[in-house]
């Protein structure tokens, strides 16, 4: 490939003609290859958010408990006792299709660095995964590689993988989604930021050596896929969790001293973005001498070093008198440590290599004049509400079908490959409660965490789907007894240059914003992944379902008071919330009737808030033995999951009058919870006083799920059906 800098090369680097013209205007000359490389990655969709920024700005990001919102490496919220939770979710979608193991592994590594960069010890990982049609060999290959990759990295680095979600849909056939979330804990007075300061202070490189891997990775993830995706394999980086583990320990050891002025991990666009962002945020210049960059390969050029996405590297600005303290720590951990530059008063980034200036770019225009697009949008008419649908199969058949279907089947095969207990603070293992629970070391406190999104709702009505994703995350945290605090979002969409996709994006954000405001649930960090779209040889282009994945955390003062799905014998089951029988876009409709239509369930944010606050209060008052929200599959699936989790059966009362049997059992009504309680009378009384819809639902006991109309299913039978899917698919 010819590397003569001109409009054609700029186009190959992903810059439009107008964007290249802007580069020429800023530089006042034709840029060098290294300079063009820097512009193209900094102005890629991945780094500049040029299509999404105008919409992201509408999301609520503040609350009294928010310490740092979007703009830092991760969001930071107050969790009490002078401690803070630091968390973020980030996508690694494109690499995970090209090379599933390394794509997923480096996704985990990247998000871990975003969190410990800020001074937090990572305490939990979660993963929101979307795969294509499970019957396709390519999907099985992707599942196998992604699960091994997440486990391979997380297990080795010693951070428990405690939760997440998995959905399947053919729209992800050529474009699976791997969204990795990390939660860390830091002292509030020991949070590290990325703004560089102090002219003359040394710029230090630590971690792994730089190789030629991942060059232009950020550009790759800013374009659609085609049938030549496999040829992009060299742009995928290779992860080394062992080095990451050393890097965590060395950085946290250094952070306990007072040597660091600023620190930033080298993620997408590597040395370029870390140097540009640190200097840019601090309003200083930066000069790098690439001769000192630790290199894994020989004869690397400045262009290659600046664009490499080699993993497990960090850039820091240190206090000059502390440099040797820092060097000793990194040498103890067998990590490279090199002074590669200095902060200047030039307001430029200057890159030298072998005595020659390879790049000299003014930082302000690189940031301020980055492209910003108000892309054209079209908005699809929301689908009509679903009319009456007859039950073709009966309740028992439908329940067993749902419990065994890919979207609801037990994920134990996946979880059992992840170390969920390392660190010794995991209070509930995956699947035991609606949200994962991790104890805050040395305290009674617990953090509840979850990831949620229902892409089929978002496809039908992005605004409702966006709100529902936020509401479900809030509900899952509430159902454990924890108080929801804040959100990180991972917005996965198709090609933003297509008006219908841009419309989906804007509408989903509108819905998310509405829910976040109604639930006091600010967005403190996030990531946007666009161009999740595959060009077919036929010329058609298949976008993914719009997938605004919501990661969220909450806090509970005493983790031993949290509740999960496991019910005791001889408890009453109570329904909180109102079931109208929302079958539009339900799993029942898809799995039993093979239809994907109708409007998604109504999201009533007032009811959500009222019902959730009531449930959390009841858990806090010790009146709740078990709690599960109603989501995919509806009421009967929720109850069946509680039976399977505990091995304790239950007898359900007669369904509500006026709703057909299947709509009552399988409707996916929002703002609803099933509670097992030994204080049913008092709880129902309190609910009525608080105007919270409440209804006696049944009684636990035995080991069967028994309905009034005669259906009896044993916990064992349901577990068998529920457990079959993954092993059958993956262990043939």
């Amino acid at each position: 490939m010819s590397m003569i800098v001109n409009a054609e090369l700029a186009a190959r680097f992903g810059l439009s003609a107008e964007e290249y013209q802007k580069v020429l205007d800023i530089m006042g000359r034709v840029p060098s290859l290294t300079e063009l490389g820097i512009f193209s990655v900094m102005w890629s969709e991945h780094c500049s958010y040029k299509s999404s920024r105008v919409h992201l700005k509408t999301l609520p990001t503040k609350a009294p408990w928010v310490i740092h919102g979007p703009g830092e490496n991760a969001g930071v919220v107050d969790i009490g006792d002078g401690l803070a939770a630091v968390f973020k979710m980030e996508s690694h979608n494109h690499p995970s299709f090209i090379e599933p193991y390394q794509g997923a592994a480096t996704g985990v590594g990247g998000i871990l660095r975003d969190v410990f960069t800020m001074g937090a010890r990572p305490v939990a990982n979660l993963n929101a995964l979307r795969f294509g049609d499970p019957s396709l060999p390519v999907t099985q290959r992707v599942i196998d590689g992604v699960v091994r990759g997440i486990g391979g990295y997380g297990n080795c680095v010693g951070v428990p993988t405690v939760g997440g979600e998995i959905n399947f849909h053919p729209a992800y056939n050529g474009n699976p989604l791997v969204n990795a979330m990390t939660v860390g804990i830091a002292r509030q007075d020991k949070i590290f930021l990325s703004a560089a300061a102090g002219i003359g202070n040394p710029v230090v490189y630590v971690g792994s050596k730089t190789g030629r891997d991942g060059i232009h990775g950020a550009t790759m993830s800013s374009a659609e896929f085609d049938e030549h995706a496999a040829s992009k394999r060299p742009t995928v980086q290779v992860g080394d969790p062992f080095t990451e583990k050393l890097l965590i320990e060395a950085c946290l050891e250094l952070m306990a001293t007072d040597a660091i002025v600023a620190i930033q991990d080298m993620g997408a666009a590597g040395l370029t973005s870390s140097a540009v962002e640190m200097a840019g945020k601090g309003g200083v210049g930066i000069e790098l001498d690439l001769d000192h960059v630790p290199q894994r390969e020989t004869e690397m050029t400045a262009y290659e070093m600046m664009l490499s996405e080699s993993q497990e590297r960090m850039l820091m600005v240190l206090k000059p008198e502390r440099t040797e303290v820092a060097r000793a720590i990194f040498e103890k951990w067998d990590l490279d440590f090199a002074i590669v530059g200095v902060l200047t008063d030039t307001a430029h980034i200057t890159v030298k290599h072998l005595g020659k200036v390879e790049a000299d770019i003014p930082l302000a225009p690189l940031a301020d004049e980055a492209p910003l697009y108000h892309r054209p949008m079209t908005h699809a008419e929301p689908p009509a509400r679903l009319g009456t649908v007859a039950d073709p199969a009966g309740v028992e058949h439908a329940l067993l079908t749902l419990l065994g279907c890919p979207d609801l089947a037990s994920r134990a095969w996946v979880w059992n490959q992840y170390d969920s207990g390392v660190g010794g603070q995991t209070a509930r293992r995956p699947g035991a409660a609606d949200a994962a629970l991790v104890r805050v070391e040395g305290t009674k406190r617990g953090l509840a965490m979850t990831t949620d999104c229902t892409p089929r709702y978002c496809q039908a009505d992005p605004r409702v789907g966006g709100a529902q994703a936020v509401a479900e995350a809030w509900r899952n945290i509430t159902a454990t007894g924890a108080l929801p605090l804040a959100v990180t979002d991972n917005l996965n969409f198709g090609n933003p240059e297509k008006p219908e996709i841009m419309g989906q994006f804007a509408d989903a954000i509108k819905g998310m914003g509405e829910a976040c405001r109604a639930l006091d649930f600010p967005v403190v960090s996030g990531n946007v992944s666009l161009y999740n779209q595959t060009s077919q040889p036929s010329g058609l282009s298949q976008p993914i379902l719009p997938t605004p994945a919501i990661g969220a955390i909450g806090v509970i003062d005493d983790v031993t008071k949290a509740v999960g799905l496991g019910m005791p014998d001889n408890a009453e089951l109570v329904l909180i919330g109102e079931i109208r029988g929302e079958l539009g876009q339900s799993l029942w409709l898809r799995e039993v009737c093979h239809r994907e239509d109708g409007a998604p369930p109504v999201v009533d944010l007032h009811a959500e808030r009222r019902n959730g606050d009531f449930v959390r209060n009841m858990i806090g008052a010790g009146r709740v033995e078990a709690c599960h929200d109603i989501a995919d599959g509806g009421l009967l699936v929720a109850v069946a999951e509680m039976v399977m989790a505990s091995g304790v059966g239950c007898h359900l009362d007669k369904p509500h009058h006026g709703t057909s049997l299947h709509a009552w059992y399988f409707g996916e009504d929002q703002a609803c919870y099933v509670i097992a309680t030994k204080h049913a009378a008092a709880l129902i009384d309190d609910a009525e006083k608080a105007h919270v819809p409440v209804r006696h639902l049944g009684r636990t006991g035995g080991s069967n799920l028994v309905l009034k109309d005669g259906m009896t299913l044993s916990a064992e039978r349901m577990r068998e059906v529920n457990a079959a899917f993954f092993p059958k698919l993956m262990e043939r």
Binding site: C156, F242, Q417, D419, V422
Partner: protein, 193 residues
């Protein structure tokens, strides 16, 4: 009880182990670095779990060559207790302080789940607060947990376990072997020890 925890680069269970030992003994254990060549006065040395040196060779193979291992060996020969858990146990077999070896799990996948173990000998230092027949839950998480040893070496190490030196580690090893063989939902624990 004065305990020391050996930390290798890549060890990741030292914090859990520290809490556990503090809980049991009421004393903070001493953290030891893999390059240490002298030991403080100790009653117990623990090699905790993790991925020493990334386990990029065989699990535990690199760790077995760390300088501190000669100290651990001498400590054991003097009659000190040594406990190897997970990667620590792998290191002890690689260092040939214990017989046998750990192979890949038979399913060729990492396994993280609870195992249930039954005490078969209640008169060892590790099991003396239990009685024979007691069942307890042990979480497991490993990719190479398939303990394999010849019949002869089993007998040898069983014999040795009457002395103080080799008592902890073989027990831990047998637990792991059994644990990797028990299905998740197993209600009837396998016979171990």
């Amino acid at each position: 009880m004065k305990a020391g925890i050996v930390v290798f680069p890549g060890t990741n269970r030292e914090r859990d182990m520290e809490q556990a030992l503090r809980l049991v003994s009421g004393k903070a254990p001493t953290m030891l670095w893999h390059r240490d060549t002298t030991l403080p006065d100790l009653d117990l040395i623990v090699l905790p779990g993790g991925f020493s040196f990334g386990d990029y060779l065989r699990s535990g193979a690199m760790g077995a060559h760390s300088p501190i291992l000669s100290e651990v060996r001498a400590f054991a020969e003097r009659g000190g207790y040594v406990l190897g858990v997970c990667n620590g146990f792998q290191i002890l077999t690689e260092a040939q302080l214990l017989p046998g070896a750990l192979l890949r799990n038979t399913g060729m996948r990492f396994l993280s789940q609870d195992g249930y173990l039954r005490v078969e000998a209640g008169d060892t230092a590790f099991t003396r607060d239990w009685s024979k027949g007691d069942v307890f839950r042990a979480p497991l998480a490993h990719g190479d947990g398939n303990y394999t040893a010849s019949e002869a070496s089993w007998i040898v190490s069983k014999g040795k376990s009457a002395s103080r030196s080799a008592m902890f580690a073989p027990r831990a090893g047998w637990m792991r072997r059994a644990a990797s063989a028990i299905p998740t939902e197993a209600s009837a624990p396998l016979r171990v020890f």
